[in-house]
Amino acid sequence: MSALTGAAAALLGVEDEARLARIAGRAGTLPPPARLGLRAGAGALEAVSRLTTGRSLDTLDAGRRDALCTLMPGRFTEAMKIPLLLAAGPELLPASPPAAGQARPDAELDCTPAAEWPACTTADAVVIGSGAGGAMAARTLARQGMRVVIVEEGRRFTAAEFRARPPLDRFLDLYRGGGATVALGRPPVLLPEGRAVGGTTVVNSGTCYRTPERVLRRWDVPADEFGAHLDEVERTLRVAPQPLGPLGRNGLLALAGAERLGWQAAPLRRNAPGCAGSSQCAAGCPRNAKYGVHLNALPQACAAGARIVTHAKAENILVERGRATGVRARRPDGSFLEILAPRVIVAAGATQTPLLLRRSGLGGHPELGRNMAVHPATTLAGRFAEPVVAWSGVMQSVGIEELHDDGILIEATAGPPGMTSFVPPGAGRALRRELAGADRLAVLGAMIADAPSGRVHGRRRAVVRYDLARQDAARLRRALLAMGRVLFAAGAEEVLTGLHHRPVARTLDELSAAITLAPAAGLHLAGFHLSGTARLGADPERAPVDTAGRLRGVAGVHVADASVLPGCPEVNPQLTVMAMALHVAAGIA
């Protein structure tokens, strides 16, 4: 037994050696930072075991291991549990139910791996990134008759692959850095970003909110024109309210709780025509029901002549005398390809766009990389007497908008087993018991409109710093309490707070006390909606990008992703990002 298997045995309460070996094997496939953290943590646990008991972890019995886990600081066990659960998920958690037949075939895409793409090519426009923003911009330009090439770092995934591999397996491939990107700060914030043809739209929950009017009023964009773009995006994505049929009990309980409170709630509007509730949105829809841009805007762009180069990481934008002349991209083997084009549309995502601009010598604007909003999300689980089986149904199903005017948006969200951002409490055998009873948990998530207090550093690797503003911590506490009210109203016996000092609350008062006592640094946060690192605006001092989406200080570079959003969109942002991309693309001549 290694230190890693010892730590897995202690923290997850696993005895079976074959199982432990498989968990350790899977942990070896995690992204390097997670692997490194796991090894360091396992080493520390082993050292504590030898110091306190004089014996190695793997020679201890289960009772002593549990006791040792209680010795360790709560934050340590929480930090170790997330990667361990990812690695152990297939062993300890119920498998996702098999998906029903495909809703639609894979789309016709003109994808060429970078290794097969010539080193020297030309185009009328190069779009960096094939996600929400890039796909829309590429479609607009291709339909104008331009020769468009989309440079995508990730690869193409098909529904067949999604069906053939378990969700946890896919997860590591589908996210940048295996999903292990974390913003440094107190508390640290997990920042999952999709990396695939289709970008994050392949792995998002499919929730479609129009940009709220009050948000648009704060931005330097013409509201009427933006509304028309939103209409066009909704038509493209075939956005419709989620029918109740496949909603699942998680969503139904949220509706029931909200109804009892008299709160405004409804099934979410989604781009998932034909969704059967596989609850695997976050690891790619196995039925192609979720209608991401890889199924609509990208094939439409390809039909108009656009071409996609996959496995090509944009290294830098080529610039001559203040004018963009193309893009240099790295192939997996380390060689480069260059595409010369007079127009470069950057849609690499809010963390990568500032890095790319810096690598290109275009990072001079002092506000570039700053003003990052993450739309932080936190979760709360309620334990019910009857099985909920939250992983059966629509992953993100119901929106509770009672507090939306205060910047709090509650959504019933339950990922595939092991992949939800909710971490069950306890360690060792206690954690095993929690996992065994996971089918009785209903999970709600809440996102709050945050101050743009994050910042992306770096040129090659994004180092994100995000410090929760004081008023945002207060808003998060309010959101937790509101979710507790919904869960109790729906009939929860107790709620799991995710706070390590008070993991369980049986009444609203207990929850309130737990939340009030929790330090901001102890909150579990994830940021799914990063934005604002190259914000758009009329003031050249404050905004690196002008109101038409052109990067200031250089000709021919346009930014068309979430980076340009001038502030937190306060809703799931895919429609906003796509409409913004249409706005930016409309200004490209």
Binding site: A119, C120, E320, R321
Partner: protein, 428 residues
């Protein structure tokens, strides 16, 4: 302004239908300007694309060299494959500071067909060890044809006078010929006028003179009872009687140069009922461009044989103030492939039938030039400036000249031409 030409050979492979085939590019580049590493210059590219069994034929296109400014040297070529398809090769070396040699010798390129579909991808390399010496020694910097001294200079400005004139001496008969073409742009935006004249100087006789109006090919034409049909060959390097900057920048009231100081002429010149059959008749073609004629001037063109030539212009400007100065003299003596140029230190005495130029020419040398235009063999022509002011030019292609070059008081070289020097004196 000079061009840059060089030849480059690159070899490598081209991937066609999944199989690599050997490929060779033999290229000649012609860039408009002197190639500088930090510059950005684009010019013509021609040469040959060879892929055995697939393509072997001429190619032409463009080359852009900007290894620092754009970090790129881009080659675009069009060629025809053996199956008759018209193809285009587009590729560039991407200069990276981290791998300067590798990046500057490796050329990836994409071959596309007329529809833009990719046909193949080439990976070519310049073989440094084998070809560098030949590559570097093949660099040439020829003069730019755009700065051809024969090219017209007038660009529509009012008040300009542009002159081409050819003078020659028939070695068989001793007859001199003078062909003069000029363009006069009046100072008041009126239409420019082209006209000219010709004169033939048979030995010992009165010269024959005729005028013409309108544009005319320089070496074929007729004026009065004179008609000529000539071919010009050779000419030697241009002789900048006035300094080159003065000619190119047009900073002086007028300037004269001799684009072809030692040309030879074949053909016929008819005057009256006589025919002059010319065979390798020595002569030259000179140019004047400026605001008009001088107040007083004298000119000498003396072909000294063996490519040696002496050209003198001495003139007094019409400009207020300058007109009271002594004549300013420009002398160029080309001998043995070297040129002696002098302006300061020369004194001219303009007169008829003889005029002289004497003074220091540098290197401790002095020169003495004495020109004699016999009255009987001199023609007097009425000139008019662009503004209409008249002058009279006394010209002879049958002049005598004596040139003595001394050093330290001793005669170093001397020349004497009897009746084959070309000279004139202008007065008002």
């Amino acid at each position: 302004m000079r061009r840059t030409t060089f030849a480059e050979v690159m070899e490598g492979t081209v991937r066609l239908d999944g199989a690599d085939r050997p490929m060779r590019l033999e290229l000649s580049a012609d860039l408009p300007g002197v190639l500088r590493p930090w510059g950005d210059i684009e010019g013509a590219l021609s040469g040959r694309v060879v892929v055995p069994g697939w393509a072997d034929g001429p190619a032409s296109g463009r080359l852009r060299v900007a290894p620092v400014a754009a970090r790129r040297i881009r080659y675009t070529l069009e060629f025809t494959a053996l199956d008759g398809r018209r193809l285009r090769l587009d590729g560039w070396k991407s200069a990276t500071p981290r791998h300067p040699v590798r990046s500057m010798t490796f050329l990836p390129a994409t071959v596309t067909d007329a529809d833009g579909a990719v046909v193949g991808e080439a990976r070519l390399r310049f073989r440094l060890r084998r070809d560098l010496a030949r590559f570097l020694s093949g660099f040439r910097f020829p003069a730019d044809p755009a700065r051809d001294p024969m090219r017209p200079r007038w660009r529509g400005q009012p008040g300009r006078l542009e002159v081409w004139y050819t003078t020659l001496s028939d070695p068989a008969t001793g007859t001199g010929v003078w062909l003069h073409h000029e363009l006069v742009a009046p100072p008041d935006d009126g239409p420019a006028r082209e006209h000219g004249w010709a004169a033939v100087f048979p030995p010992g006789e009165r010269p024959v003179f005729g005028r013409y109006e309108g544009p005319l090919a320089r070496l074929q034409g007729a004026a009065g009872e004179i008609a000529w049909d000539l071919r010009e060959s050779g000419g030697g390097d241009p002789l900048y009687t006035f300094p080159r900057w003065a000619w190119e920048r047009e900073l002086l009231p007028a300037a004269q140069i001799v684009p072809k100081p030692t040309a030879s002429y074949d053909g016929t010149v008819r005057f009256g009922d006589r025919v002059l059959n010319l065979e390798a008749a020595p002569g030259g073609t000179a140019r004047i461009y400026g605001h008009g004629n001088a107040r007083r001037w004298a000119w000498l063109h003396a072909d000294l044989g063996d490519g040696d030539v002496c050209e003198i212009v001495t003139a007094v400007s019409t400009r207020p103030g300058l007109r009271h100065l002594p004549p300013l003299t420009f002398l160029r003596l080309r001998t043995g492939g070297r040129e002696i140029a002098a302006t300061l230190g020369l004194r001219a005495t303009i007169g008829l039938p003889s005029w002289t130029v004497r003074g220091r020419v540098g290197g401790g040398r002095r020169i003495h030039v004495e020109v004699t235009q016999r009255r009987a063999e001199t023609v007097s022509v009425d000139y008019a400036d662009p503004g209409g002011a008249p002058a009279v030019c006394h010209n002879s292609e049958r002049a005598d000249v004596r040139i003595v070059l001394t050093r330290g008081g001793r005669v170093e070289r001397h020349w004497r031409l009897e009746g084959t020097a070309h000279a004139e004196v202008g007065v008002r």
